[in-house]
């Protein structure tokens, strides 16, 4: 059997195992377990697409929360029934034609992705005129602007009240389906000639230009693809949480994604997947430090904010002492796995 057939079979096997696990949890899992699994998938989608820009292109984009927000609102507005919308928008009615449109969930997700991509395109001109710290601030600023707009444009977003009572369409199949698709597509992109051009820009933008790579075009490509998947993930999140408001997806969410991709290793998709899964699980597990603990004879009061302190410390420790994170810039692959196994058996 040649290696590419073997690898394809292994991948199919892995997906089958994943499907079986999801099936079992969807049927018999507790609400808590299902929530963690959904979070895992959505964080994987978000982290892998965020890493495309920050890890592979080497620029510091701090506005994924903006695209998540745009995706969430778009998708939510499209799945709500006209009657629900009329009930929700009490201060100012929702503008036509959004007020009468209702589409299937899948279509709304894609629409969320497209809306996010569209806004990413709009701001790409000021964003990519600058680099480094400036780019970071401009993208961060965009996140703030989106929040302000969501608050202010009541006839589109229902202002500070947000959108409530969305149908919980997001099942494990949806969240994991999107996650798998995202990982596959972004991996293919990164390993293609386009991905190589992005990495060249990360390594040395001047040299990349001299070799015929147009930085704007490739940064834009990464930025738009990333925004698309962030938008889709936003739609998934909206229909998981079922209530969205302008303050839901703040810079705080971006910060979490940043921790994930730094810990996973900037520029490693497998690293982002591993770290996102750890984060979704660890984030829940760490809730204990914030809730009161009863040890039988004594009750330790929970300390709010402690989780974020821990996360910040983790980020700083990784950046200061283990800058490569879990995976550095390398990837897990079947080839590597089998090579490692072979060495094991030989030894």
């Amino acid at each position: 059997m040649d290696t590419s057939t073997r690898n394809a079979l292994c991948t199919i096997l892995l997906l089958a195992v994943l499907a079986a696990v999801l099936y079992v949890f969807q049927k018999h899992g507790t609400e808590y377990q299902i929530r963690i699994l959904n979070n895992m998938a959505i964080f994987i989608t978000l982290a892998v697409s965020y890493n495309l820009v920050n890890g592979f292109c080497g620029i510091l984009h701090l506005g994924p929360n903006a695209f998540i927000t745009i995706g969430a609102y778009t998708s939510a507005l499209l799945t709500m029934s006209p009657a629900e919308k009329q009930l929700s928008f009490i201060i100012e009615p929702l503008i036509w034609p959004l007020s009468v449109i209702q589409v299937p969930f899948a279509v709304s997700l894609i629409a969320g992705g497209i809306a996010a991509t569209f806004f990413a395109f709009l701001i790409s001109f000021p964003v990519f005129r600058v680099r480094g710290d400036y780019l970071a601030i401009v993208t961060l600023g965009f996140g703030e602007v989106v929040r302000v707009l969501c608050n202010a444009m009541q006839s589109l977003t229902n202002g500070p009240l947000g959108l409530k009572g969305l149908t919980p369409y997001t099942t494990l199949w949806w969240s994991w389906g999107v996650a798998v698709f995202t990982v596959v597509v972004i991996t293919k992109l990164v390993n293609s000639s386009y991905g190589r051009a992005m990495k060249a820009i990360r390594e040395d933008e001047t040299a990349a230009k001299a070799m015929g790579v147009d930085p704007f075009k490739h940064l834009l490509l990464a930025f738009l693809v990333s925004a698309f998947f962030s938008g889709v993930a936003g739609g998934l999140l909206a229909h998981l949480i079922t209530t969205i408001s302008p303050t839901l997806f703040t810079f705080f969410l971006t910060f979490n994604l940043l921790i994930i991709i730094v810990v996973g290793g900037l520029g490693s998709t497998s690293g982002a997947v591993i770290a996102a899964a750890l984060f979704a699980w660890g984030g829940e597990a760490l809730r204990v430090v914030e809730s009161p603990m009863n040890l039988g004879f004594i009750t330790i009061p929970g300390i709010p904010g402690m989780r974020m302190v821990l996360f910040s410390i983790i980020l700083m420790v990784v950046i200061l002492f283990a800058r490569r994170g879990i995976m550095g810039r390398s990837e897990l692959s079947w080839d590597r796995l089998f090579t490692a196994l072979r060495l094991q058996t030989k030894a």
Binding site: S193, R196, E203, T206, K209, A210, V213
Partner: protein
């Protein structure tokens, strides 16, 4: 009127400083031309103006009958002018093969979404690029290093890889900025041989900057001398060596005497 390559009265000012003044040259296909001058004379600035890294204050860059002044660097490269850098600028964390493959990227025809979906037509193109890149490395005697990280190569090899990478962009005109800098005499000699070989085999035109006089005099057919941005001499190696202004400029700069 030459319609291969011509620089027409290029001027570059940085604030009050005129780094290059009225620089003109006509280069014929297949020529090997040298550009020399003391440190800070404005040589690299000339290259930067040709390749679009700087937009000249005035003057024109004419290439194959077109005015390409102020075009962005990647567009200039796509038109067939490639360059190397004085201070090596490899993609250090990528392999030697990948470094070269980057230069092929502008020849790729399949769109990004084909790459994302992994369509067969795209895969074929990737295969072609890889094959050509490997052949390329063989030609420059770097084939055995294909899978090494570029940053881990010894200095001389890195210089060579810079040239390979520029050549992989399929230029008709190759600009080399101090290709022999930091090389020992042995390596310098091999480099001169390599440059002449490539020129002959690929029918390339080469315009190079170099401080190593032996290298320039031995390799170039025609030389231009810059001092403080002004062209002070032009001619064959033997003419340049005898030119009084050149001798003065270099004696005033003992570092390169």
């Amino acid at each position: 009127m030459n319609d291969f390559f011509q620089l027409d009265n290029l001027v570059m000012q940085f604030g009050g400083l005129t780094a290059v003044k009225d620089f003109s040259i006509i280069i014929e296909p297949g020529e090997l031309v040298g550009l020399i001058g003391p440190n800070g004379a404005g040589k690299t600035t000339v290259f930067n103006m040709i390749t679009g890294f700087l937009t000249p204050t005035s003057g024109r860059v004419l290439w194959q009958g077109r005015d390409i002044t102020g075009w962005p660097p990647h567009a200039v490269t796509a038109q067939g002018i490639a360059r190397t850098f004085q201070n090596i600028r490899l993609f250090t964390d990528m392999t030697v093969l990948e470094n070269v493959m980057v230069s092929f990227h502008h020849t790729i025809r399949s769109r990004f979404w084909k790459a994302m979906l992994g369509l067969p037509s795209h895969k074929r193109e990737e295969k072609r690029i890889e094959k050509e890149a490997r052949a390329f490395l063989e030609e420059l005697h770097l084939g055995h290093l294909a899978d090494e990280k570029a940053g881990s190569l010894p200095y001389g090899q890195q210089r060579r890889l810079e040239i390979a990478r520029a050549l992989a962009a399929r230029p008709k005109l190759l600009l080399l900025d101090e290709p022999a800098a930091g090389m020992n005499p042995q390596e310098t000699m091999e480099l001169a041989k390599l440059v002449r070989e490539i020129r002959d085999r690929r029918r390339l035109t080469v315009f190079l900057i170099e401080h190593d006089m032996k290298f320039v005099m031995g390799l170039c057919e025609r030389i231009k001398v810059l001092d403080y941005g002004i062209t002070i001499a032009e001619g064959s190696p033997s003419e340049i060596q005898r030119h009084p202004d050149v001798i003065k400029a270099y004696l005033g700069e003992p570092k390169h005497a």
